[in-house]
């Protein structure tokens, strides 16, 4: 019995090795960047930002290019990505002008000619509406069911110094509206920059690369203003390229990292003349979670409205300071929940994750475990058939059939 057993083990091993080799070949770009993070770069004692407000700069140097990632809550919180074709490009901030909130051009990536693409996402408003009929469709709600929105540019923010983790390249911005409903509530944005390809720890475990950054938004403990309150988030995008008129929904058969979600939404920017190339993208899975540590049942779908072009820049100090000319701005609303799902008041928690990146989005691939199981599962019977067939042929060839059986 040891013979065949060893053969099976050997073959399983061989196919595993083979598969893992292939996997290494076509999965992930393996691109790495040297990432360094700094809070309020170049700020000296002459001016001071308002309490809790700051500018985070991540410099991610690759071979021959640099990705500058900027996060600021001066005005509405914004994440900005600027991609340069120089590994020595740097950020220059004119702090007095930047903090005055007026001067465009006070935040620059130099040399200016090296910037290939820049794009930003701004979290501008938080809508709350009374979904009395449980349709979870804010686009078709009467205007009367909407409460005055929370303007994120007016939020007060917790001390940034405490939440910035320079070593891990993460930071968390937590803020609150000044009204009573936010007494125990907070709106938070957890930011992460990445050195290489990987996935987040928590659902939806978006696939990121060295060319992208992630923000997880959550809204916790806010007192809903009605018994049937649902929330929606207004998101604006600004791009040096052409923002697509619609959000593409990419179907994926792989829901291993985000159970039961088979879609990926992607809002891309392209060069003005061609729409086939992607300069930058905003990506998310159409799912939000109703608990801080969710199980599958705590997930709820989210939907986005069609993007609408905006005439002016969103109310973010960073975006106004950076984008001086030739930009496109567009906005959409992300609504959470579906008819029949619990209202915000049930768990008083809502979380949603979005990824911003430059260049082509990373390609999803099956996990090594899935490939290994399929390879062993399908390979073993085939190997058995092969070796068994050969064995039986040899046996038949060596053992001559008894030509004449004794009669009786």
């Amino acid at each position: 019995m040891t013979g065949p057993a060893h053969t099976v083990q050997f073959c399983a091993l061989v196919s595993l090795l083979f598969i893992s080799r292939c996997y290494g070949l076509f999965s992930g770009d393996g691109y790495r960047r040297n990432v360094s993070m700094e809070l309020n770069p170049g700020l000296n004692g002459s001016v001071a930002p308002p309490p809790g407000v700051g500018l985070i700069h991540v410099r991610a140097v690759g071979s021959g290019d640099t990705l500058h990632v900027l996060l600021s809550n001066l005005g509405a919180p914004a994440l900005l990505l600027a991609h340069t074709n120089s590994s020595s490009s740097s950020l220059r901030v004119d702090w007095p002008a930047f903090l005055s909130g007026q001067a465009s051009g006070s935040v620059k990536v130099e040399p200016e000619g090296s910037v290939q693409f820049s794009g930003a996402a701004v979290f501008t408003r938080l809508w709350e509406y009374d979904d009395a009929n449980d349709t979870a469709d804010p686009e078709h709600q009467p205007a009367s069911s909407f409460f005055p929105p929370y303007e994120l540019q007016n939020f007060s923010w917790e001390d940034l110094n405490k939440s910035v983790n320079v070593a891990e390249h993460t930071a968390t911005l937590c803020g609150a509206d000044r009204s009573d409903t936010f007494t125990n509530g907070s709106f938070c944005l957890a930011f992460a920059a990445f050195e290489s390809e990987g996935r987040g720890q928590a659902w939806p475990k978006l696939l990121h690369s060295a060319n992208s950054s992630q923000i997880q938004m959550w809204l916790e403990g806010v007192t809903p203003r009605s018994n049937h309150s649902r929330f929606a988030l207004e998101l604006q995008a600004v791009s040096s390229g052409e923002l697509r008129q619609k959000v593409d929904v990419i179907k994926s058969i792989d829901d291993e990292y985000t159970p039961s979600i088979f879609k990926l939404s992607q809002w891309a920017s392209s060069p003005t003349n061609t729409s086939s190339r992607v300069l930058g993208y905003t990506q998310w899975k159409p799912v939000a979670y109703l608990k801080a540590n969710p199980v599958t049942e705590d997930s709820t779908p989210c939907r986005n409205s069609e993007p609408t072009p905006q005439g002016q820049l969103p109310p973010s100090g960073l975006v106004k300071a950076f984008f001086t000319e030739e930009y496109k701005a567009s906005g959409l609303n992300m609504s959470f929940g579906i008819s029949g799902n619990p209202f915000y008041g049930t768990s008083e928690y809502l979380s949603w994750t979005v990824l911003l990146g430059v260049g082509s989005p990373p390609l999803e691939s099956f996990s090594p475990l899935v490939i290994a199981i399929m390879a062993v599962g399908l390979g073993t019977p085939l190997v058995l058939i092969l070796f068994g067939g050969i064995y039986i042929c040899i046996r038949k060839a060596t053992h001559q059939p008894d030509g004449y059986r004794p009669i009786n």
Partner: protein, 483 residues
């Protein structure tokens, strides 16, 4: 009997087991020497009341078919109401699948003792009534669990339901043999099987709309609504209980009139025999477990899968989830005939396993219209049932058949219980793709089993892969020697 769907599959097993066994009593003897049945008045009875005549047997057949209807209808209640059960009871998928696991647990043991209880302790009539009571009681407890919002009570209900359900199928087969042996037995088995499929299909497609109606009437969802709906489903079990009582009366009456003995399952279980089981039988067990655990837990979780991956409406999802049962009803007799005519059971089993694997791979790795994959699954499932269960009779001597079938069903239930729980947690943590890959792996184990079985049988010069004509030749060549 094994879990629902395969209860009727192993009907094919029981069929060979019972039909070949030639029990002592010649039950409904139409022997001319047999005293002609007479009514109390001594006059000639109406055909419809005469146990020896076809019209009366048709009446009996009617009750026999509806005897199992309730348990078949209610077995897949959780699958038909998957979203509602999960939402109303606030369950995770893992907990939801426990409902299926709890059904299987009692049958790990009952497969061995069910036949004994029917033959020696209760007798077929009281046994049938008692098992029907268990089914009804189990469903009522299950519904109460929902009504009062206790999940543990629902699990208890499924356990009690499981005690009754599988054994009831054994009783049903016994009745069939008792009344129809040597007459329309195969037809009767076929009809019972179709009835079982009808029950499952009706459940899958009706329960959702009953829930919707109750929801509208009460103007709310929640455990109470679910409880009411499950109580309504329990009426089918009440119907089955009534059938059991009527059958008991008719059977007793026939016994008095014809002076015949009560039916026996004829199952003799000797656990000692297990150590003498040949390698081929163990391989058949592996195929059985590996195959069925990739079918029933999948159907249990299917509805939401079709909604979420393929954007089906709930109604459409329930329909496609029942397609396996729908196809199986007409396909089983046809495929059974085909397998009987051609022989070569191992190749048919291999064919069925490969088809099922293909279907699962399609569901896992493509967005192709799932009707294709599910139809393939339906056909291959029916084919496997026709080819696998009779193989047992080829590899063990007749006196061990009862033990072999009991053992096969027992480990199948063990497998179903364990894999149901595993499937729920896999889905919760890793999603549908991984779950499908897991099911593919189970089927691959079954495939390895078939391939090994083919070679082992080939080397031993066994009978499993003989064509039907080969069988005839072998029988002919062996008969002169025995003379």
């Amino acid at each position: 009997m094994t879990a629902r769907g395969s209860a009727s599959d192993s009907g094919a097993g029981s069929r060979s087991r019972m039909a070949d066994w030639g029990e002592g009593e010649n039950l409904l003897n139409e022997d001319p020497h047999f005293p002609s049945p007479t009514g109390a008045s001594g006059g000639k009875m109406w055909a419809i009341c005469d146990p020896t005549r076809l019209p009366h047997r048709i009446i009996v057949l009617f009750f026999m078919c509806f005897l199992g209807f309730g348990s078949y209808f209610c077995y897949d209640n959780p699958a038909a109401l998957q979203t509602q059960v999960i939402q109303d009871m606030k369950l995770s998928t893992a907990w939801f699948m426990e409902l299926y696991a709890w059904y299987s647990w009692p049958n790990v043991v009952l497969c061995f003792v069910g036949g004994f209880l029917l033959d020696r302790v209760f007798g077929i009539r009281w046994g049938t009534v008692i098992f029907s009571l268990f089914v009804l009681l189990g469903q009522i407890i299950f519904a109460c669990g929902a009504l009062f919002n206790y999940f543990w009570l629902m699990a208890v209900g499924r356990f009690v339901f499981g005690i009754g359900g599988e054994s009831l199928a054994v009783a049903q087969n016994t009745y069939a043999v008792n009344w129809f042996k040597g007459k329309e037995l195969n037809l009767v088995f076929g009809l019972q099987l179709s009835m079982a499929r009808l029950g499952s299909t009706a459940n899958m497609n009706i329960m959702g709309s009953i829930y919707d109606k109750i929801e509208i009437a009460r103007n709310s969802t929640g455990p109470v609504t679910l409880g009411i709906v499950l109580m309504i489903a329990a009426t089918t079990c009440l119907l089955s209980l009534i059938c059991a009582l009527v059958l008991g009366c008719l059977d007793r009456r026939a016994e008095k009139i014809l002076n015949k003995a009560e039916g026996k399952t004829g199952e003799v279980i000797k656990l000692k025999d297990v150590k003498n089981f040949p390698l081929e039988l163990w391989l058949i067990f592996i195929i059985c477990v590996g195959y069925y655990v990739a079918i029933f837990p999948f159907i249990g979780l299917g509805q939401v899968f079709f909604i979420e991956k393929f954007d089906f409406s709930p109604t459409e999802a329930r329909l496609i989830n029942s397609i396996v049962y729908i196809i199986s009803a007409p396909a089983s007799p046809v495929l059974g005939f085909l397998v009987d005519k051609t022989g070569k059971h191992v190749l048919w089993v291999m064919c069925a396993v490969v088809l099922t694997l293909t279907a699962h791979i399609m569901l896992a790795f493509t967005f192709w219209n799932p009707w294709i994959a599910m139809s393939v699954l339906g056909v291959s499932y029916s084919l496997l049932a026709c080819a696998l269960w009779p193989m047992v009779a080829f590899v063990v001597p007749e006196y061990q058949l009862g033990t072999a079938y009991g053992f096969m069903q027992s480990i199948q239930n063990l497998g179903l219980a364990l894999i149901s729980m595993a499937a729920g947690s896999i889905l919760d943590s890793r999603g549908y793709l991984f779950l499908e890959v897991f099911f593919c792996a189970c089927i691959c184990i079954a495939l390895i089993g078939v391939v090994l079985l083919y070679f082992v049988d080939n080397l031993k010069g066994g009978d499993l892969n003989l064509s039907a004509s080969g069988w005839t030749r072998r029988l002919k060549s062996s008969s002169p020697q025995s003379e």
